[in-house]
């Protein structure tokens, strides 16, 4: 799979992961402490932020793996920085990436319109929720509470990651800095597809 990748594309995904890592660190620590106090549900609405790098990378590079790899690489970098969530972050990164990747694979990497991007956000949300269900023991919680968490996460995946990801990638495209990447080569074909 890696044979068809240019090094500059791989490094790009890594750096995108770093950008969103920084954004997460310095921007969205909105009341991390109270999030701790009100329990796991506090994180749900912003889960999409974790998935966004998958969606942006795939939307720009359009190669199999472009959703899985950046998410996994970003997770490894987080662990290298001593992220206190630790090694299991790598596992969750891979699983989230696979979730987003699944949506693109299901459409055979042919369509990259808003619908597919939102679907990828949802894919990442569903995969990560299944993993969380197991590791964090959601099984012990009231099913209706679990359902609420699930809905929040799916919405966050679709809106923050899917819509937000497209919004950011389109804004980046407008700056003219994505010359030479797949997104600049395909013209508006997808909007029609």
């Amino acid at each position: 799979m890696l044979k068809s990748w240019k090094l500059k594309e791989i490094v790009l995904m890594s750096l995108f992961g770093v950008v969103f890592g920084i954004v997460y660190l310095l921007f969205i620590h909105l009341g991390n402490i109270w999030a701790g106090v009100i329990g796991p549900i506090a994180y749900e609405w912003m889960f999409g932020i974790w998935f966004i790098v998958s969606i942006i990378s795939m939307y720009i590079i359009r190669k199999p793996g472009a959703a899985l790899l950046p998410e996994s690489m970003a997770a490894v970098i987080e662990v290298m920085l001593g992220n206190a969530v630790g090694p299991r972050l790598i596992l969750s990164g891979i699983i989230q990436g696979l979730g987003a990747e699944a949506a693109f694979a299901a459409t055979r990497y042919k369509h990259f319109n808003l619908f597919v991007l939102m679907l990828a956000g949802i894919g990442a949300a569903v995969f990560s929720f299944i993993y969380g269900y197991f590791v964090s023991g959601y099984a012990a919680l009231d099913p209706s509470f679990v359902a609420l968490m699930f809905t929040l996460r799916v919405l966050s995946g679709a809106i923050i990651a899917g819509v937000g990801g497209k919004y950011i990638a389109d804004a980046l495209l407008a700056t003219g800095s994505l010359r030479g990447y797949a997104i600049s080569r395909t013209d508006k074909g997808d909007a029609r597809a």
């Binding site: 240019k6 804004a171 407008a174 700056t175 003219g176 010359r179 030479g180 080569r185």
Partner: protein
Amino acid sequence: MRVRESVFTLESVSFRFPDDSEKTLDNISFSIFRGERVVISGPSGCGKSTLLYLLNRLYPVNCDGMVSGNIFIFSKPAELYAPGEINHRIATVFQDPDSQFCMPTVEEELAFTLENLHVPFAGMETRMVEILELTGLADLRHANIQSLSGGMKQRVATACALIMKPEVLLLDEPISHLDPFTAKEFISWLDELQRQFDLTIVVVEHRLDAWETFFQREISMDGNGEIIADQDFSARRPILFPERVSAMSGETAISVTDLSVKLKEKMLLNSFSFKAKRGEIVAIAGPNGSGKSTLAKALCGIHKKSSGRIQSDGIGYVPQSPEYLFLTQSVKDELAFSGLASREELTELMERLGMDGIKEAHPFSVSHGQKRRVAIGAMLADKRPVLLMDEPTSGQDEAALYELFDLIDGRARDGSTVFIITHDMEFAASIADSVLLIKDGQLTGKFAARDVWQNEQLLAEHHLLPPKGVAKLAESFA
């Protein structure tokens, strides 16, 4: 006569990027021979870097570009080399000191290079020690690369190239991000190494004056990607800027008294006091890390001052990367963002700054010079008549420097006060009315410009090279 061995031979080579309709390189032919020191010159964007990337085989694969004609490297067609095969014989140092490393420390970066070459474990240590000695970087072996100065980073990049024992060293505008003082040191260091290693050196460069007599041969290109001359190299005089008459008026525009900035008990600026008039152009100069940027940021309010007073009509700031300031998706909106200027004022301002052609463009997609124009426009539209520009001369080619000269001169004529942080005394001598010298967070003083250029000791104390243009002038008077 000995037959000279060809390192590169190009026969009517043309090159086009897949996204472009026009060729970047057009019908290029030349041969470069072993042991030569060649410079490929031309304005920014003329395709000289592209040409260099064809010589080290980064292109065409990396950009899916279309090449026609023949390229021979060591007399073998370039396309017959496997990926990476040629790169240890032809090493490259790039332009941007900040982004040519992948490992945290010097040692790890050198090891990365050795591992790429499949050097056996037993040979690595000796080779590393040897190269660190030869390049004088032994003390930096365990240093964190990103914490080094730009000049040191370029030396580390060169050491990483030389550890491959290359036959050819390519350099892509290696001094464009260095200040003239550091650049001069780098060039004489390189000169020494070339003799030691008996290298063939090919440099892509747009500012030749700093290189003095380093080269033997110059291949010049024009803006259309064609070769216009291939001849013996002759040392260049620094760029001559037009004579200008000071626009300084009698009215004080900014007055700073006892300004100090302290950060975590560290005195970054110690009690600065100075004034500047409307229409005055002030160069701010001093060694790296002396507090120039801190001063600029403290003046415009980004950094909190610990004590002192700043009185002015409004101070604007243009960072080295002007795009940091941009908030909107078009140049027009960028100027209108704060809503402080009326529609008439904006139209007038855009006309004055020559931005009519780019009004609708995305502020990120215009050229670097134009970005700076937009940033200045935004500051003026925000009613900040005192402008601070951080290193506007860094990495600019001749045409861009003329444009910058006109831009700054024009603003002073309009009654703005312009502070320019710069290491480039050539530029400062041509435009500044006065010079603010800073060292170790202390203000040495604000001098009338003409008093500074002859004072070599004062300049040397601040790591500055005296402007050659002025030196020439003084000689002719003597």
